[in-house]
């Protein structure tokens, strides 16, 4: 079977039927997954680059009448693949709640205020060195009904494409030292400790902008072809 992307790398992902996440109970397959060979259909994928974003898409604090409430932050880092190859010119879609822990989404019922100056959606494209940087406000923690007194640690949702259908990734970026980690089933559905740590950004004093914004670094590692080339 042709498996050009190492299948074992994907084992760090959560199991579909992770018991602590209530919503998974009726939405996880019971039948065995069928192993899919990596054909041209999987080794190709959509290419979304610089043409996908407009000026300002990478700043979630602008585009409204005023400034949003909350702690202004810069999130930045590199997108690379598992063989440490940088992934240039690739789209990252971003969404999050506001500083009070409320999403603009109409279904969100958390009794925290909406912020008329914050929607919480953005887009950024990595540069030719695989580097990205966006500006936002630090999202708040919020309660949800997964279990009694359940709270999500503060997080930013990120969606990436990479080089192929196989490298597609939707993940959540957390903030260092969050006391809610131990109680969060989504964070803990990744059972490998080192892998969990890869979802946590690091505080980056060097890249803070004095008198303006704190900075967090978050490198994102996508699936990629075997490091040892088998063709060409």
């Amino acid at each position: 079977m042709t498996m050009l992307f190492p299948p074992q790398s994907a084992k760090v992902h959560p199991a579909y039927d992770y018991a602590g996440y209530r919503s998974a109970a009726k939405r996880s397959p019971k039948q065995p997954l069928v192993i899919l060979p990596h054909t041209l259909s999987e080794l190709t994928g959509p290419v979304y680059g610089h043409e996908s974003v407009r000026p300002g898409d990478d700043d979630l604090t602008t585009g409204h009448a005023g400034d949003p409430l909350g702690e202004r932050i810069i999130v930045h880092g590199h997108v690379l693949d598992e063989a440490a190859r940088l992934v240039p010119n690739t789209l990252i879609e971003i969404w999050q709640c506001n500083a009070a822990g409320r999403y603009v989404h109409v279904v969100d019922q958390h009794p925290a205020p909406l912020d008329p100056n914050f929607t919480g959606a953005g887009r950024v494209v990595t540069d030719d060195k695989g580097y990205y940087r966006f500006t936002t406000i630090k999202p708040g923690a919020y309660p949800w009904r997964n279990h009694p007194n359940a709270w999500r640690p503060a997080h930013i949702h990120l969606s990436l494409f990479g080089h192929s259908f196989l490298s597609r990734l939707v993940t959540q970026m957390y903030f260092p030292g969050d006391p809610l980690f131990a109680f969060d089933p989504i964070y803990n559905s990744v059972t490998d400790e080192n892998a969990r740590a890869r979802m946590v950004s690091s505080f980056d004093l060097e890249n803070t902008v004095p008198e303006w914004a704190l900075a967090y670094r978050f490198d994102i590692v996508l699936r990629g072809r075997n490091a040892t080339p088998m063709e060409h």
């Binding site: 760090v12 919503s23 959606a121 196989l166 890869r198």
Partner: protein, 195 residues
């Protein structure tokens, strides 16, 4: 080798981020893949996403990736691609309150498969949802394709389950509509792949 970044669910509140037009923004990715230059048969694909109780899932999203009518992918890894073709082959459809999704696209051609075998025309699917911790990978095949019988990937699927991957062709107002539901669990559970 660095370990990869683990997946996390899209959660219930992704619509304003991934389909921003729903909140007054502008979409980069839509459920209409048809471009003015695209040759081939225009088709609609639609169906529902259902949970283990057969209840519709109103907070799911499907993404599809496909070749053009000649079986070429708009990607550098497909050396046969036409560099100036506008047909991108990628689309995204959230489900509505009834769990329905829909795409307008072009019927893809057959594409090369493993060991020199051709694959029947098909579309690659990623399914995202609240309650789904990592995208579920599936495929859409077409009921009017004799090539399904020799498809190397369908070959790997237990025969009794293959029908869950095959969209049924219907005509509506003279236009072709392919219908396929995605059942995440239970009777007639859709075949999902480990890629």
């Amino acid at each position: 080798m660095a370990g990869i970044t683990p997946s996390a669910t899209v959660g219930p509140f992704f619509l304003f981020g991934l389909v921003p037009s729903t909140y007054g923004g502008e979409d980069v990715i839509t459920n209409n893949l048809v471009t003015p230059d695209a040759s081939g048969e225009k088709i609609r694909i639609e169906g529902r996403v259902l949970d283990g109780d057969s209840a519709p899932i109103p907070d799911a999203m499907l993404e599809i990736w496909q070749a053009d009518a000649a079986g070429r992918y708009a990607h550098p890894a497909d050396a046969r691609a036409l560099p100036n073709a506008a047909f991108k082959g990628f689309g995204r459809s959230p489900t509505d309150s009834e769990g329905r999704y829909a795409f307008d696209t072009i019927k893809p051609g057959a594409v090369p498969g493993p060991n020199g075998r051709m694959q029947a025309p098909h579309i690659a699917v990623n399914l995202f949802s609240r309650g789904v911790l990592k995208q579920m990978v599936s495929r859409i095949y077409f009921s009017d394709e004799a090539a399904n019988a020799a498809d190397p990937v369908l070959d790997l699927v237990p025969p009794a389950r293959r029908a869950t991957l095959i969209a049924r062709r219907e005509e509506r107002d003279g236009a072709p509509v392919y219908r396929l539901d995605f059942k995440l669990q239970g009777d007639d559970e859709t075949v999902f792949f480990e890629a």
